[in-house]
């Protein structure tokens, strides 16, 4: 459905610019949860912006259902890590969720229904009239997820969405993401630097290499559904996959560190 073919991205000009992404090729299938995991600073956010149509590739093509992406498409909704800046503090929770539903495309009654359903599925019905800044971090990120759902995208792109949250809240929201996928049948692309998370919620893991990044390795996660924070993580195959991801990231981090020390290499 969403396809990247030979995508590279260079910031700045040909000679002095920085190559952030090189020769990226992968495809996201309908209904999948795909996580993108890689060492810190490898260019994960660049990949996400390329997939979202927020950034144009320097070469290669990003297509959705065969159409090239030239601007953010209606099929994709984004959830950012920084929920406090991504939600609008002058709008109430329900208004934030409703805001992307353009009155030209979505009737008022339809919009109201979508907002109610989205808030219900993230468990925030009671807080529809609150302001985002009155809620905890985890609840704010739920609002952002509800906003994504209400938009009814085919793909929900999430950029390290739980990076700023504590471990318990993070675990709750990981389970919420998988519930959302089952309930709304949405495809999820989830960028993270958390290794356990990348395996736990995924059908497929894309492990990225050091900068300029590329797909280092691809893992299919065969853990049975529904996943459970305790039993799934006790499964020997979870430990095995987690080990593979960890090893790859450690190697990439070391590679990046040695390049940083000795840039001539």
């Amino acid at each position: 459905m969403l396809k990247l073919e030979g995508v590279s991205k260079r910031y700045g000009d040909e000679n002095t610019g920085v190559l952030a992404v090189r020769d990226l090729t992968f495809e996201i299938g309908e209904g999948e949860v795909v996580t993108v995991v890689g060492p810190s600073g490898c260019g994960k956010t660049t990949i996400l912006k390329l997939m979202a149509g927020l950034l144009a590739p320097s070469s290669g093509a990003v297509t959705i259902d065969g159409r090239p992406l030239v601007k953010p498409p209606l099929e994709i909704a984004l959830v950012f890590q920084d929920y406090s800046a991504s939600l609008y503090p002058w709008m109430r929770v329900a208004e934030n969720v409703r805001f992307p539903l353009d009155p030209k495309r979505v009737s008022s009654a339809e919009a109201t229904g979508r907002v109610e359903r989205a808030l219900e599925s993230v468990g925030l019905t009671r807080f529809a009239d609150s302001y985002p800044w009155q809620l905890s971090g985890g609840m704010q990120q739920r609002v952002a997820i509800a906003r994504g759902i209400a938009y009814q995208p085919k793909i929900l792109l999430m950029d390290e969405p739980f990076g700023a949250l504590d471990a318990q809240t993070r675990a709750e929201l990981e389970d919420l993401v998988m519930r959302v996928r089952d309930e709304f049948g949405v495809t999820i692309v989830f960028v993270t630097h958390d290794i356990d998370e990348s395996v736990y919620i995924a059908d497929r893991v894309l492990i990225m290499g050091p900068r300029p990044t590329y797909v280092e390795q691809e893992l299919v996660v065969g853990l049975p559904h529904p996943r459970d924070q305790i039993t799934s993580k006790e499964d020997p195959s979870f430990a095995h996959l987690r080990g593979i991801v960890y090893r790859s990231i450690r190697e990439s981090t070391q590679a990046m560190a040695s390049v940083a020390k000795d840039p001539e290499r």
């Binding site: 953010p72 498409p73 909704a77 920084d82 991504s86 503090p89 805001f99 353009d102 030209k104 302001y131």
Partner: protein
Amino acid sequence: MVLAVIELAARTELIPSRFLPPPTAVAVRIVAEAAQGRFWLAIVDTLAGWALGLGIAALIAIPAGILIGSSEFVYRATRPIIEFLRPVPSVALIPLVFLLFSPSLEGKVFLAVFAATWPLLVQTQYGIRNVLPLQLDTARSFQISRHRVIFRVLLPSALPYLATGLRIASTVSLILVITGEIVLGAPGIGKAINEAREGAAVELMYGYVLIAGMLGVMLNAVFAGVERRALHWHASQRGTTT
């Protein structure tokens, strides 16, 4: 306390009462004046000038500020002109106003508009330029139309700056309107002050000066109140630090 000292100084002729009349005499005089139509007419004339000055300035400065603030190119292109015109004191334009207008509403409004536009323009620009990039990226990722981005993202986000700009512009507009009335003889409180002076009605003159001051304080209070309501969501108004 201060009033008592002034009262005493004036009553004992320590300061000649033709310069500084006793406050009680001023109060008595202005209360008597308030029974007359011309008193209210002067206030209405001044307020009309103030409102027109501020309103026209807002109509110019806010759209222009949005335009300039949302484009780096326009910002760079207009900055030299704005930085040159902005420091020109409005009162320096009075001779020009004499040439262009009769001593009526237009002249004083012209002065007020010229003076009030700049602070509002600059504040609007800064407000628009300070929108968080992520707030715009979010809007862009959801394909939100330009019109809705301006009215529901850019403007609310710039509102704290706009509110400050409006408050400054309101004060400036009032000052210039009264200046215009004094110098150009356009009807209003300024003209009343001048006429009282010419008629050696010192108490009355001080009375009108007092009224002008009270208008300024009242308008400022109104704006501060509206600002508090409109910005209740803003960190500075929430009352908590979260």
